[in-house]
Structures are given as C-alpha cells and as structure tokens.
C-alpha cells in the first residue's frame, strides 16, 4: 500500500517539482505514472523509495521496496549473478556476505524473469534489454512486496518491451506485488496498470482508475498534442492502442500559415 497525503517536493535550488499531491494505491495495485519529461516522475519514485524526503506532506509505504533504476551504470564489471545477489542486501547482516542460499534465490530470480542463461556474463557487456531484465531479477531477489521501476521499457526495442511487460505482469500476479512504474508509453500503462497518475504541472495532476483517467482528452491535455485511441485486429483477437498524432495538425498549420502570410506581407 502506498499513500501520499498532500506531498510536496522542492530541490534546494528552489523550484517546486510537485505540490500537494495526494493519492492512495492499495496492496496489489499497479500504478503507471505518466508525464512530460522533467515533470518529476523520477523524483516522485525516489520519494516513495525514501532516497529523497518530501518538503511537505506525508508518504506512507508498507512493505519492502525493490527498485529498478532507469539505467544502471556500474563502474566495476560485476557478473550478472553478483549483480542479482546484491538485491539480497536487506537479508544479509552488516558484517556478513551473500550465502549459498542467497545465490540460490538470485538464480531463481533470474529464472523467474527468464534470463537464467545470462548468469555467467558480465553485466556491462549486456544489451540494454538484458540489463533491464537483470535489474528486474535483482529486485525480485530482494523479495520485496512493492516494486518501483523507472521507465522500464524506454530504452528497449519492441520485442524486449514485450518481454519486460510480460515478465512484470506475471510477477505481479504470482507474487501479489504492488507495482509503480513511470513510462512515456500510454500503451504500456494501459497494458499493465490498473491505476494511473498523470503529472502535468507542479500543481495539476490526475489520479484514478486507468479506464476513467486515460482518455484521449486527458492525454492531449497532458502532452499538448493530438492523441487517438484506435482499434485494431491481431491474430488472437481485437485490441486498442493509443497513437500520438505525429503529423502537423490543422491548428499547427494555421499558425505556420499566419507566419508565412506575415512574412510575405513584409516582403511586399
């Protein structure tokens, strides 16, 4: 369970990242956080994790958290198994080290996520998708009940996006995990999440059940571009997808035309 009670956060440099955010996600819920770049999605995750302390308000989190960062850059070339076993830290005493049991759990976590074959490799030589899955395995090895992921699919190709989403879906169900993740893909949010938090400005946000909140209108408001929710057929049935309209819209063109007009007037 996660509860935000009028939480605000400001960095020392002064600007408010978000103000008076309140929401409640029950145990077992899956929350997707959407918002433009630089809106404070990662900051909010760090507040949940306790890495950052909010300037105002109260956050209550019950259960151990596991974190999958956006990008792990280790300076040292640890092996995949060493990386995953580090997820066991909370269960390992201050002066102790990983025991055979911890290695068994780490290997089990790699199997759960479906990347057991990477176990002998060096973390830094893996591709982006493989790293993401290994980091997910590390969080699984921590035996957390609350999984926090920062843009788990952003750096991945289609196939790996699907692999990560399926792994998350399976894990959340099997282990009754509460999951919070940030994403730039409304489709990934719609696929996995049951709740959504849209962070638009420091003061304006929307929180709610995904079917109610994730509408074309709300997404257009969030990103400032046209968005369409389209239906499609695939080999197994019918699906829906949210599509950002990339073509210049009529309103854009009008603006550009006006400018052209003005230029031509000036030229005359």
């Amino acid at each position: 369970m996660i509860e935000f009670d009028r939480v605000s956060f400001r960095y020392e440099s002064g600007n408010d990242i978000f103000r008076n955010h309140s929401f409640r996600l029950k145990r077992g819920g899956i929350l997707a956080i959407l918002g433009p770049n630089g809106r404070g999605k990662t900051t909010l995750l760090k507040c949940i994790l306790g890495i950052l302390t909010p300037t105002n308000g109260r956050i209550s989190v019950d259960g151990e958290t596991g974190y999958v960062p956006q990008q792990a850059s280790t300076l040292f070339s640890y092996t995949v198994l060493d990386m995953v076993v580090m997820g066991r830290t909370r269960h390992i005493g201050f002066f102790s080290s990983a025991q055979p049991r911890d290695y068994r759990i780490a290997e089990e976590a790699l199997r759960t996520v479906g990347v057991k074959d990477l176990v002998e490799r060096t973390f830094m030589e893996l591709s982006g998708g493989e790293r993401q899955l290994v980091l997910l395995a590390r969080a699984v090895a921590s035996e957390c009940s609350l999984l926090i992921l920062d843009e788990p699919t952003s750096a991945l190709d289609y196939r790996n996006q699907r692999k990560v989403l399926h792994a998350l879906e399976r894990l959340a169900r099997q282990r009754d995990l509460t999951v919070v993740f940030t994403t730039h893909s409304p489709n990934h949010a719609a696929y996995l999440a049951d709740h959504v938090l849209m962070m638009r400005t420091p003061d304006r946000y929307r929180f709610g059940v995904i079917d109610e909140v994730m509408t074309e209108t709300n997404l257009e408001e969030l990103y400032g571009i046209e968005v369409r929710n389209v239906a499609y057929d695939y080999s197994g049935g019918r699906g829906r997808a949210i599509v950002p309209v990339l073509h210049a819209s009529s309103s854009d063109q009008q603006g550009e035309n006006h400018e052209q007009d003005r230029c031509s007037v000036l030229r005359h």
Binding site: L49, Y67, A72, F76, S77, Y78, D82, M86, T89, A98
Partner: protein, 303 residues
C-alpha cells in the same frame, strides 16, 4: 632464514651471533611492518576506490596522509620521542578527517564529490602547515629529520613501533574486510545503494574512519609511503576482478609483498638507504600508466 627456522628446527648455527641479532631485532620487525603497512595501504586504496567509484583515489585523497604527515613533523620539531611522533601523526590524521567530515557536511548530506573536494582542501591546508614547519625547523638537525621521515622509511622499525602500528592497522583492516559485501553495494552508487536499504552516509563515514586509522598508523610508523594504495588495487583487480570479497584479500596480500620488495630495494640497492616514497613513485608512475590502459578492458568500465 636459518636464524628464524632455528627456533623451530634443530639446525646447527652457521651464522655469527651478530647476524642472529640483526635478523631477529632489526630485520624481522622491519619485514613485518613492511608487510602489514603494504597490506593496509593497498586495502585502504581498494576500499576508497570502491566507495568513491573513482580509480584515481588513494589514501592521500581524503587528506589523512597529509594530516598525519603534519602531525609527525610537528612532533619532530618539538619533541624527540618517537612515541610522541606516532601520537601526533595519529591525532592529526583523525583531525584532517574531521575537517573533511565538517566541510562536506555543510550541505546537510555529503555527496561523494564533496568528500573528495574537502579532502583536497584539508590536504592543501596540512601541506601548507608542513611547509611552515620545514621553514622554521633547525636546518642542521630537525629539518633533515622531518624531510627524510616524510619521504617514508621502515629503517627505524623496532618491535615497539611494529606493535603500536600493527594493532590499529589489523583491527581497522578487519573491519574493512567484514563490510566487503556492503562495499559492493556502495560501489553501485549512492542512490542504488540507498534503494537497497543501505545507509550509505553512515557506512561511508565508518569506512573513512577505519581507513584513517590504518593510514595514520602507517604514516606514524613509516612516514608517507605514497602510490601503493593507488596502484596495488588496480593490479589486484586485474587478477581477481572487481568483487570486493575477493579484491580486498588479494590487494592486502599483493600490497604486503610489493611493499616488502620495495623496502628491500630501498635498503640494498645503494650503500645508503633510499627513502621509500621515491622508489614507490618511480616504479608506480609507468606501472600506473600501463595499468590505466589495461584496466579499461577489465575491471573498470566507463559509461
């Protein structure tokens, strides 16, 4: 060797009584101190490179070496007892860490960069103060003593020096070895470590204090022996990889042997003793250059 084995095995002495005394009273404590100090320096260096995630960090960087150096020089200036010198080196080593602590805490939390910068500031302060002491010291008596001591030497080792230095080195070294798994976590970076439930701030200061104890003990016994803490961890990392559980013992063993070897050169290469700091620097610079090139491929990666 015969002298030492004679204690255990019935060997007929083929050496003179003087030789025996030289070995047991002068050479043996010197050898032991070189081993323990080398191990301590290499261990400290490996630990510091891990917590600062920086391959160019050594015990000098956190300012403790220069602080201890100043303390020792001060003691040579005002007292002539070796015991006072060790005490001063110890106290000022810890003072310099306290300064680093205070400076880097000015912003509440203490990120890694602040600690390094504060270490440079503290180092600069104590370097200046040491220069002041050299400037005011009697140029015929005290000044040479200070200069030679600062360049590092195991030549004056007795069992007393050995005992005073070895106990803190071994105790603090044991602490550092015990937190080896946490070191792996901290080497991933502050935020990841905190997300995994490690109190990085507290752990870092515990580690820094242990490293200061090791360094101050070594400086007080043998002066400033540079470069070992910087170079040996790289060699160890090339051999056993970056995992601190294997790296720390490997660095300690290699550091001990390397330092003993350097000390033998210092003692035997020329009729007079050469200060250790000179040899370590001359050997280390090309080795370090080569290692930097090699370790790009193994052990260290840059993103």
């Amino acid at each position: 060797m015969g002298v030492l084995f004679q204690r255990l095995l019935p060997i007929e002495p083929y050496w003179s009584a003087t030789d025996a005394r030289v070995v047991t009273l002068i050479r043996l404590p010197r050898i032991l101190l070189a081993l323990v100090s080398g191990a301590g320096l290499a261990l400290s260096g490996a630990v510091l490179q891990g917590i600062f995630r920086n391959p160019l960090v050594g015990p000098q960087v956190i300012g403790v070496s220069t602080g201890s150096g100043f303390g020792g020089a001060l003691a040579i200036l005002f007292f002539s007892s070796q015991f006072m010198m060790m005490g001063f080196a110890f106290v000022f080593g810890l003072i310099s860490v306290a300064i680093v602590f205070a400076l880097s805490r000015m912003h509440g939390r203490s990120p890694v960069l602040m600690v390094v910068l504060a270490g440079i500031i503290a180092g600069a302060l104590f370097n200046a103060l040491t220069s002041l002491i050299k400037y005011v010291a009697d140029p015929y008596d005290k000044l040479p003593a200070i200069v030679v001591w600062l360049m590092g030497s195991f030549a004056t080792t007795t069992y007393k020096t050995l005992a005073i230095a070895a106990v803190p080195i071994v105790l603090a070294g044991m602490f550092l070895y015990l937190v080896r798994f946490r070191l792996n976590i901290v080497s991933l970076g502050e935020e990841e470590a905190e997300a995994m439930g490690v109190n990085t701030d507290r752990l870092r200061w515990m580690i820094l204090t242990a490293v200061s104890v090791v360094t101050a003990a070594i400086v007080s016994a043998a002066g400033i022996v540079g470069w070992i803490g910087l170079v040996v961890p790289h060699i160890a990392r090339m051999i056993v990889g970056p995992d601190h559980r294997r790296l720390l013992p490997a660095a300690a063993v290699i550091g001990g042997i390397y330092t003993l070897w350097i000390d033998n050169i210092a003692r035997a290469a020329t009729p007079a003793e050469i200060p250790l700091g000179i040899i370590t620097a001359i050997i280390a610079v090309p080795v370090f250059g080569y290692l930097l090139k090699r370790t790009q491929a193994k052990g260290w990666k840059h993103d």
